[in-house]
């Protein structure tokens, strides 16, 4: 349930910077997150993702720049920002020694809901996110996935228009990760704006409308995941029976992709990334291999993942 209409910015920032001691955690971040969308901040550990979330959630004051969340300035109107956000940090911040229902009721009470309203809201959320059966058990006994789900749900008690999720699935097994993804989709279906950070490119790809890639506190790329991937070519892999044929296969790949093939003798595989904008079609590739007399055991064309995008971007920066 968003209180912001679609053409407005739920989160905006300009030149946001923060240093701790001599280390620059965030170095001039600009952000524009339209209301009702999911925005993914991507990057390795230490890229500045968590610092960005902490600045936007008013937990830390910026050294430089400004940011507005739900229309309020984080430095001058922190109280109003806090009324408009939900935060799920990197660890499930739920209390282990009490039940799931009590956790949610307490969050409601901290948001100054009446006792009855807080209980009603807790019941409703437990039901909606499949935690009703576990609601009266101590959180200590929950699985990792259930804890994270409860932690997410705790952000929703007051239906805030903007949600910050800091690495919502780090350390979870694939099934629990899927459950969290479903829960996040459920949130956004309600019209909330979600800003999430992740180290998993697949996660940003699945959930985010727009991603920003951060490295060493700076944005190195941003845009819809599809556009970022289009900027990188198609990944082509050929596996041959006889390692002796690798040079021939590499020659074909160089011609077809325009890229630089890399051979792996142990796996009898040669791989290349096509130049951006160059279309690689499977039948043409197979015909070219056949014409060169290469007995290909396996041929694969893969649209680049965000991993490829990230590696390409960081390699570019290191080279520069």
């Amino acid at each position: 349930m968003s209180q912001l209409s679609g053409d407005q910015l739920a989160v905006s920032a300009q030149g946001l910077g923060k240093s701790f001691g001599g280390t620059t955690a965030l170095d001039g971040l600009d952000l524009a997150v339209p209301a009702g969308t999911v925005y993914g901040l991507l990057g390795p550990n230490g890229a500045g993702k968590t610092t960005a979330i902490r600045l936007l959630a008013t937990l830390t004051a910026p050294d430089t720049g400004w940011a507005r969340v739900a229309g309020f300035d984080v430095a001058r109107e922190p109280e109003r920002v806090r009324r408009s956000i939900g935060l799920a940090g990197q660890h499930a911040a739920v209390d282990e020694g009490i039940t799931g229902r009590e956790n949610l009721t307490l969050v409601g009470r901290f948001h100054h809901l009446g006792a009855r309203e807080a209980r009603r809201r807790a019941d409703e959320l437990l039901e909606r996110f499949g935690l009703a059966a576990a609601g009266d058990r101590l959180v200590r006994g929950y699985s990792g996935g259930m804890r994270r789900r409860l932690d997410l749900v705790a952000c929703l008690v007051t239906r805030p228009p903007v949600l910050f999720l800091d690495e919502p699935t780090t350390g979870l097994d694939p099934r629990s990760r899927g459950e969290i993804w479903d829960a996040v989709r459920e949130l956004t279906a309600g019209g909330s704006t979600v800003l999430l950070t992740t180290q998993y490119l697949e996660e940003a790809d699945r959930l985010a409308d727009t991603v920003m890639v951060l490295d060493h506190g700076r944005a190195i790329a941003d845009g819809p995941p599809g556009r970022l991937k289009a900027a990188i070519g198609t990944r082509v892999q050929v596996v041959v029976d006889d390692a002796g044929q690798l040079p021939a296969a590499a020659g074909v790949l160089a011609a077809v992709t325009g890229g630089e093939p890399v051979s792996d003798r142990d796996r009898r595989q040669v791989e290349a990334l096509s130049l951006p904008g160059r279309e690689v079609l499977l039948p043409a590739l197979v015909r070219a291999l056949d014409a060169a007399g290469v007995a290909a055991r396996d041929v694969a064309l893969r649209t680049p993942s965000l991993d490829d995008v990230f590696l390409a971007l960081t390699a570019e920066r290191q080279a520069a």
Binding site: M1, Q3, L4, S5, Q8, L9, A10, S12, Q14, G15, A32, A35, R54, A57, T58, L59, T60, A61, T64, G65, W66, R68, A70, G71, F72, E79, R80, R82, R83, S84, I85, G86, L87, G89, Q90, H91, A92, A93, D95, E96, G97, I98, T99, E102, L106, V107, G108, R109, F110, H111, H112, L113, L138, A154, V157, T158, R159, P160, P161, V162
Partner: protein
């Protein structure tokens, strides 16, 4: 650094969030948040009654160890029964021991992100800390009551009337409250549960260099000064005086005026540590 003219898309203002329509007044909010914070801690104890039993076990073991094992060879300089001398000291121990669970609990909240979650909510930070201090005060009372029963069973008595006895209990509760704020600050300063656990061990010697178990008169000069001026010693001496229990002769000012000294120490410690704790809590991670 104002940026209202930088963005062409004017940032949207949120209307009142879906929950409460208007923010309650400052005082009312502090009270509400304190009440919720108290509930949070008490719920924790309700689900883990063993914690309360453990808090009680320590002073009860002390009654046996010191009251009967060491106490069999102890003579109180001013005369009187050693166990009657000991009990007020153990009551004060309960107050001092308030530091440890608070410290570890606060540090655990920081570790697990609960502090960040709370700080991202529109609540009174003073109220949150006040609430957990009040909860801890209630826990202290819950441990003190059965210990008083144990004391009565081993021959300790309140000999100076109800009013003085109530005053003594009031001082004990006040001191527990003060120690909670000290613990809150130390827990926030420690920043991790592991660090807090190790710091907690360090609170043991200051708690022992007091008049809790033995009169300070027999200690070497330098140590005696520390023990005489230890705030905990003032609390113990005040309780011995108000309960009408045996007291050792004292020359230091705080032990000659223990009630006033306890009030002064409490006021001083509270005035230092409560603002420090709130400040540390508000600026955590900046």
């Amino acid at each position: 650094m104002s940026g209202s003219t930088v963005s062409t898309t004017r940032p949207a203002r949120a209307t009142a969030p879906g929950g409460p329509a208007a923010a309650p007044g400052r005082l009312r909010r502090t009270a509400l948040d304190a009440a919720t914070s108290t509930t949070r801690v008490l719920l924790y104890y309700r689900h883990s009654p063993g914690l309360l039993a453990a808090s009680l076990a320590v002073p009860v073991v002390m009654v046996v160890l010191f009251g009967y094992v060491f106490g069999s060879a102890m003579r109180v300089p001013g005369g009187g029964d050693y166990r009657e001398f000991l009990m007020p000291g153990l009551f004060a121990m309960v107050a001092i021991n308030g530091i440890t669970p608070t410290m570890v609990g606060v540090a655990r909240d920081v570790d697990r992100g609960a502090t960040d979650r709370l700080r991202s909510m529109p609540l009174s930070r003073f109220g949150v800390l006040l609430g957990s201090a009040l909860a801890d005060l209630l826990i202290g009372v819950a441990v003190l009551v059965p210990l008083v029963g144990v004391g009565l069973a081993v021959g300790w008595r309140m000999r100076d009337g109800v009013a003085d006895a109530l005053a003594a209990f009031a001082l004990l509760v006040l001191f527990r409250f003060v120690m909670t704020w000290v613990g809150t600050f130390l827990g926030l300063a420690a920043g991790s549960e592991q660090m807090a656990g190790q710091l907690a061990v360090l609170t043991f010697p200051p708690a022992m260099v007091t008049n809790v178990f033995v009169p300070t008169g027999g200690m070497p000069g330098w140590l005696r000064v520390i023990a005489d001026w230890n705030p905990a010693s003032a609390v113990v001496a005040a309780c011995r005086q108000l309960f009408g229990n045996p007291t050792a002769p004292a020359s230091a000012w705080p032990l000659q005026h223990p009630v006033v000294a306890t009030l002064l120490w409490s006021g001083l410690l509270l005035a230092v540590f409560a603002p420090l704790a709130v400040r540390k809590y508000s600026t955590h991670g900046r």
